[in-house]
Symmetry: C2
Subunit: 226 residues, 2 copies
């Protein structure tokens, strides 16, 4: 399986960034193929005919789909020095639990807190508060969700460390702050200052500008998708 | 880790049945603890404080949560003769893709086709049609989604084999039929006639009566949860 690895992704997508970060943690060389999401390539549709979405990892000519599934594939395929999931089955289950919690609950609540108004926004912000407290508690006594090193929960939480901060700033609301979430804020600092993370994520200001420019459009559609 | 295995579940839940089936496929003895979902036990809330939901698998005094995560835990913990996931990373990724597709797309569309009316129902039935065609195609040339033996996709699809059939019957609509889905119907027959499946699932008629009795309540709440 020495064939070149390709990642069909998008600059502003936290889901592409998850895969990029995992490949870099493992030291797997790959080609990054930037998709225009308004005009998806025939190859993307061919490789992901069911959802027609990024990210798609192409390895040995075969497509792997869905960011979290790709992360498990990467961990199983390239052993390397950096384990993305713990080895112990119970610890693996715990990590998968938090990953699912982030995807099913946290991301939607944070995102919708930014892109809704009035009573609806108040409810999403309440939800976000509750979820962030759970994550704050989960991080107690640890540098990363994965312990001393970046693991699958940290990778899944990339959205929180960068996107949630940038998007809430562009919408002038405060979701995560030093006073209420000191441990989470410390994690964000540690995570974003890691060399491999820096190399995998889009530039803060460029991302801020991207969402700031999109603000009117996203509000107008009333059906945001991140 | 020789401590007794306990499953906190509910008779009518397809998610509990997934875990029960996986444990029986592996030959793991366990104690089934029936939860009253209208009055959850203090133990359930203690073991799953975030979601307070079944199923919870207790092993060595430690809780594992979320049915699909429990299935992976079972496969990693008890090797046994029956593999729930394939060994090859690419095949594993494919299986996880279909499992996620079933949970994120198929279940909701089938369920809501039964519990909605008018235009809304029409849309859910259209979605169901599209999703079932994809599953029909995925099953081509195979006895089970897992190949010759029952795998994680089959276990995840338990809802389709039994619940979707019973619930749609109780609501007098047709979702899956021999004419449009011959391969899927053949799979349902093979799956439900397997001895271990028979021992893991609730009785057809009892389940039918359960949902038939609940019909008015579910319609009234307008917020069904399966």
């Amino acid at each position: 399986m020495g064939e070149k690895v390709k990642l069909f992704g998008s600059y502003a997508s936290p889901f592409s960034s998850r895969v990029e970060l995992a490949l870099k943690l493992k030291g797997v060389p790959f080609e990054n193929i930037e998709e225009d999401l308004a005009n998806k390539s025939a190859l993307l549709v061919q490789y992901n005919p069911v959802h027609k979405k990024i990210p798609v990892l192409l390895h040995g000519g075969r497509p792997v789909i869905e960011s979290l599934i790709i992360l498990e594939y990467i961990d199983e395929t390239w052993d390397g020095n950096h384990a993305i999931l713990p080895k112990d089955p119970f610890e693996r289950a715990l990590a998968r639990f938090w990953v699912k919690f982030i995807d099913d609950k946290v991301l939607g609540a944070l995102w919708m807190s930014c892109w809704s108004e009035g009573e609806k926004q108040k409810n999403f912000m309440e939800q976000s508060k509750e979820y962030l407290e759970l994550l704050e508690n989960e991080l107690k006594g640890k540098k990363f969700f994965g312990g001393d090193t970046i693991g699958i929960v940290d990778i899944a939480a990339t959205f929180i460390a960068l996107w949630a901060i940038m998007v809430s700033r562009s919408c002038s609301i405060s979701l995560i702050n030093e006073e209420k979430h000191p441990i989470l804020c410390n994690w964000i600092e540690e995570f974003l200052s890691s060399e491999v993370v820096k190399k995998s994520l889009p530039e803060k200001e460029k991302l801020f500008a991207y969402f700031h420019a999109k603000k009117e459009v996203i509000f107008a559609t009333k059906a945001p998708a991140y």
